[in-house]
């Protein structure tokens, strides 16, 4: 669309439209609703349903035209409510209803159905059709998650367009075109898209229904709040809908900056885990015969006692805290303050050895999704498979590549979900990522990692030719995260205009790292050394030395050197890539305290279990891959006596004879904004509707305007309801508060001023301590503190990692994540539990032939170095795997790759033998 604006007349009112803007969109934007079924603002128009017929006059006299297909042009006159237009719309609706069963009383869509609503508002009132209507077998499952009632379908092409244009999985199609046209799949080939749930949300009738929600509620029984999805770290905005204190459905909310209304199926359907059987509702203490329920005071007392004993016998380093990536920002800060500022241990890590160094995530210049997807740019996917780990980011990238001409280069250890989109797909030999990136940046590259010099030179030209966003993730859990981080370091140094988008997947891992839940880090993205002085003024204590990461903590526990191991929603027995070490650690730790929502293998081994309030059970904020802070809202009450994680931290601090000074969620937020340098200046109001990027100076382009008039897409009729008003209590609340409570605002301001004054006073002491500490020279603009006197943000400097060369008798293990696995939340969601694809070893066809085994035959895989278990799994040849590699997905039923991985090794080499 060009910047030019044109004047058009809609129903006698002159309005401005962008040149090329569709009439239906221009009309909606200026307050005239034109009925429609097929048009969707996030998809290309097709003019399929004809419901949007209006009279359009471009100088040749008025004519009925579909307003979703006609771009606005200068001087155009549009009449939407003339007798002719009304008659046309009534006629179209009469035809659309000719085959529609009108089974509204038993249809899930009834009450929120565009067809129902528009039949009332724009329909003829009665039909002249007396003929028999079409009949189909009903309902048919088109996937494990979605059912289809074909006779309700009005053939608007929304779902099929979504599958083709947006998701890129055209597995549903119009079939038997003619009088019996239907949407269907190929026989025995289900609509197994990761995004199938979106078709349910955009279906303008009740043809597509989700099996998880079918017959569960009527729309008028649902109550909703807007929140942010934390199934992965993309941070999609959702409407959480519940009835009678039960969450029944999530709907995607259309937010320009993030998810455009889409959700992945994992995010959409894991609401089932909220009310899963076995949710922890009471504290548990280990007794001889297993766990027994206990009072909170007893359980907290036992936990505090164990921590005190640890402090007495081994000092602060006798305590280790693993996890926190599922917490809210507030809870993560409270736990960071408890661990580092009260107990004084730096053995704290939110990642489970499956991520990247916190310095890399927080210290590299950060991009936003919009920056990554901006036309004309280049995206380098480094290591990670966005389709499996960050599905909605994949949708945004796909749109950027297909529609906006963004160049995508992937440097990955195996072909991924974006390989089909990549202009340059560099699939390298396992462990060779840093070599490949070095050659990619070289003027005249040499062959590297099994990739030819020509391919590297071509990709290198693309990477050097424009603004670059690197999507950096941990593609392979069987080699060390430093490896891919060192490659990222090379890109940061070698390119002028480069930003990074973290590809870490756990819900609020970025918020947890920014809150200081990482060794060597303090809240606000500052390193322990840089921030020590600043935090001495705010906390009781600050750890003296850099502590251990998860691997180190587990090793200490396994060696009997750890007195208390706290698991914050972490399950190392499943999620840590080295199961052998995790088992030894949990057995070796003297006391294991688990704070969690659901029982998992690690919780079952814990000595003290503290039940936490989970998703939709507590308010707060979360941080996404971009560093965008957005709101989480409570919708239902937690089970039993489960408490918010930050409350548990505050209670423990109190029992340790200290006080976090945090009495309400607002306290925590205010303190986080006051003491965390990267969050400087943040206010609750500033978070707004769609969240805010931190540090705040990154957020220059921010608007809270939404493209879609109706962000959930529930109410498409232009009736008198105001759909956006009732879904956004915060916005209304914030507005009311702003009006009613001037005093509060004044206080906040005064407080901010005070902070600044204090900060100014300290400015001299807290002079950037990184200078002259022997680190590499640092570009000043990258290390600018967020405010005067604040410590400078952490900076990442990569260190090269030596990779041992492979031998010819073994294969190098690739362990990647799939969207669905044996993770606790996925397994607790009934709809998703069976979707994990299962453990299968994939080999390059050459290696497969050498093995001499039938396809789907069984092989036994064992670590070359020995000392680890082995797994027996089916094997398949696959063109997606490079020579010399063996791909076995993480945490799949049928064989655990984590039994093979040694966390201390740089790479994992395995032997593969035909199973007898």
């Amino acid at each position: 669309m060009s910047e030019q604006r044109v004047k058009i007349t809609i129903d006698g009112r002159e309005v401005e439209a962008e040149d090329g803007e569709l009439v239906i969109a221009a009309a909606e934007r200026t307050g005239t609703y034109i009925p429609r079924f097929c048009w969707h603002p996030r998809m290309n128009p097709v003019g399929m349903c004809r419901m949007c017929l209006v009279e359009i006059d471009t100088g040749r006299g008025p004519a009925l035209q579909p307003s979703c297909m006609i771009p606005a042009s200068e001087g155009m006159t549009v009449v939407t409510d003339s007798d002719i237009a009304k008659k046309a719309q009534e006629g179209v609706l009469e035809f659309l209803l000719a085959n529609h069963p009108l089974d509204c009383p038993v249809c899930d869509k009834g009450g929120e159905c565009p067809l129902q609503d528009q039949a009332y508002s724009h329909g003829p009132g009665e039909s002249r059709f007396i003929e028999e209507k079409v009949h189909f077998e009903k309902p048919i499952p088109i996937s494990d998650l979605v059912d289809l009632d074909r006779e309700r379908c009005i053939l608007c092409d929304r779902c099929t367009r979504f599958a083709d244009e947006v998701a890129g999985d055209p597995l549903i199609h119009f079939i038997d075109r003619g009088a019996q046209t239907q949407v269907n799949t190929f026989p025995d080939e289900p609509f197994a898209s990761y995004f199938s749930g979106n078709t349910v949300q955009i279906c303008p009738v009740g043809a597509l229904t989700s099996r998880a929600y079918r017959f569960k509620a009527r729309p008028w029984d649902l109550d909703q709040v807007e929140s942010t999805c934390t199934s992965c770290s993309v941070g999609c905005r959702v409407a959480v809908q519940s009835s009678r204190n039960q969450v029944l459905r999530y709907q995607g909310v259309d937010v320009d900056a993030v998810n455009w209304g889409w959700l992945c199926d994992k995010g959409r359907f894991d609401f089932e885990s909220i009310h899963a059987e076995g949710r922890l509702g009471e504290p548990l203490l280990r007794a001889d015969e297993g766990h027994v329920t206990a009072a909170w005071s007893d359980a907290l007392g036992r936990a505090a006692g164990a921590i005190e004993a640890a402090l007495a016998s081994s000092g602060p380093s006798g305590v280790g805290v693993i996890g926190g990536a599922q917490l809210t920002n507030e809870s993560a800060y409270a736990w960071a303050k408890l661990a580092k500022g009260v107990i004084g241990t730096d053995n704290v890590d939110a990642q489970l050895g499956d991520g990247l160094p916190a310095e890399a995530v927080l210290g590299l210049p950060r991009a936003t999704i919009d920056q990554a997807c901006a036309p004309g740019g280049t995206v380098v996917v480094l290591g990670v498979d966005p389709k499996e780990e960050l599905p909605v980011l994949y949708l945004r990238l796909r749109h950027a590549v297909v529609e906006d001409g963004v160049t995508l280069v992937e440097v990955v250890p195996h072909a991924t979900g974006v390989t089909g989109l990549a202009a340059h797909s560099l699939v390298h030999g396992p462990g060779a990522v840093a070599d490949v990136v070095a050659q990619l940046l070289a003027e005249s590259p040499a062959d590297a990692g099994g990739i030819g010099a020509d391919a590297l030179a071509a990709a290198g030209t693309a990477v050097r030719s424009g603004p670059v966003t690197v999507i950096l993730g941990r593609g392979n859990l069987a080699d060390r995260g430093d490896l891919v981080a060192s490659a990222a370091g090379l890109l940061a140094e070698g390119l002028d205009d480069v930003r990074f988008l973290s590809g870490l997947r756990r819900g609020n891992v970025h918020g947890a790292l920014a809150a200081g839940l990482a060794p060597g880090m303090l809240p606000g993205s500052v390193s322990l050394d840089d921030g020590r002085e600043w935090f001495h003024d705010h906390w009781s204590t600050v750890p003296s030395d850099r502590g251990l990461d998860t691997e180190g903590i587990l090793n200490a526990a396994a060696d009997g050197k750890l007195d208390v191991l706290v698991l914050l929603g972490a399950d190392p027995l499943s999620d840590f890539p080295d199961h052998d070490l995790a088992r030894r650690a949990l057995a070796g730790a003297r006391t294991v305290v688990a704070v969690d929502t659901l029982p998992n293998p690690s919780v079952r081994q814990a000595d003290i279990v503290l039940p936490a309030a989970g998703y939709a059970e507590t308010d707060g904020t979360t941080t996404n891959i971009e560093g965008r802070i957005s709101r989480l809202s409570q919708k239902v009450t937690p089970p039993g006596t489960a408490r918010a994680d930050w409350v548990i931290a505050a209670e423990l601090a109190f029992r340790l004879g200290d006080d976090l000074g945090l009495e309400s969620l607002d306290d925590v937020f205010a303190e986080l904004a006051r003491v965390a340098p990267s969050h400087h200046g943040l206010t609750a109001e500033g978070v707004g509707i769609d969240g805010v990027l931190v540090p705040l100076d990154r957020d220059a382009d921010r608007t809270d305007a939404r493209t879609a008039e109706d962000p959930i897409g529930l109410q498409t009729s232009g009736g008198d309801e105001e759909p956006t008003a009732d879904i956004d209590p915060e916005a209304a609340e914030a507005a009311a508060e702003a009006e009613a409570a001037d005093t509060e605002a004044g206080e906040a301001e005064a407080e901010a001023e005070a902070t600044e004054a204090q900060a100014d006073a300290e400015a001299d002491d807290a002079a950037t301590p990184d200078e002259g500490d022997g680190a590499e020279p640092v570009a000043d603009d990258e290390r600018e503190p967020a405010g005067p006197g604040l410590p400078a943000p952490v900076r990442f400097s990569a260190t090269a990692v030596a990779v041992p060369s492979p031998d010819t008798y073994s294969l190098r293990l690739l362990t990647t994540r799939k969207l669905y696995d044996l993770g606790t939340t996925t397994q607790a969601s009934r709809s998703l539990a069976k979707l994990a694809p299962g453990a299968v070893l994939h080999l390059h066809p050459h290696d497969f032939d050498r093995l001499g085994v039938e396809a789907d035959g069984q092989v036994t895989v064992s670590n070359r170095e020995g000392g680890r278990g082995s797994v027996t799994v089916p094997v398949r040849p696959s063109g997606t795997v490079p020579k010399g590699a063996a791909l076995l997905s993480f945490l799949q039923p049928g064989g655990q790759a984590a039994e093979l991985i040694d966390a201390s090794a740089v790479v994992t080499d395995v032997r593969v033998e035909v199973a007898r």
């Binding site: 055209p170 597995l171 799949t185 190929f186 080939e189």
Partner: protein
């Protein structure tokens, strides 16, 4: 439920190479599959989808539009009897009922020996020759019940094999297009103007 034979796979790839986009070869490939099996087998559609790099749903979406692509097995001889108005007036329905009795099947079904499939059709554009029918889309005009009996007998005995190949066969002599004479091998938009679009004076000035 067969996929393409090795021979037909080579042919399919040859057909795909004739078009600028693999998807353009979809309908010719559907014909090839129907020729191989007499109908479109599911596995053949999956194979076509693989060859043109699309999903099977897209293949069946196109295939199912065309009445003459059969997704269920049909007999070697597909008999279509016209029952539209001209043929009806001239005895088309009687002809259909006669064939139903003779073959002992209802329209839309296939004889147990897999020899015949009977269908009634709307106008097949031979009203001056009513009543008429087609066998594998070969016309038989002004056909009486006796002639129909004779036709069935001839078909059974293979006496018509020279003029009516079994259902699905497109041609018994395969056309071969030399690589240099194939149309559309250039990418649209990158090829030059067709010669008739070139202004006359320019084409005259052009070097020989």
């Amino acid at each position: 439920m067969p996929r393409f034979t090795a021979e037909n796979t080579i042919l399919a790839k040859e057909i795909i190479a004739r078009y600028p986009h693999p998807k353009s070869a979809l309908i010719p490939l559907l014909h090839l599959a129907q020729e191989q099996d007499g109908h479109l087998a599911e596995d053949a559609m999956v194979h076509i989808a693989e060859l043109i790099d699309h999903t099977p749903a897209e293949v069946i979406g196109t295939a199912s539009f065309y009445e003459m692509f059969k997704r269920e097995p049909v007999g070697d001889y597909l008999i279509n009897v016209c029952t539209n108005i001209a043929c009806m007036l001239m005895g088309g329905e009687e002809l259909l009922h006669h064939l139903e009795d003779r073959l002992d099947i209802r329209p839309g079904s296939t004889t147990a020996d897999g020899m015949f499939t009977l269908e009634d059709v709307e106008c097949i554009a031979a009203c001056t020759e009513a009543p008429c029918l087609t066998v594998n889309y070969r016309y038989f005009h002004k056909i009486s019940t006796d002639e129909a009996d004779q036709l069935l007998e001839d078909l059974r005995a293979g006496r018509r094999a020279h003029e009516i190949p079994k259902h699905g066969t497109l041609a018994r002599v395969r056309q071969s297009i030399p690589a240099d004479r194939r149309a559309g091998a250039a990418v649209p938009g990158e090829c030059g103007q067709p010669v008739w679009m070139t202004p006359k004076d320019e084409s005259e000035d052009a070097p020989a």
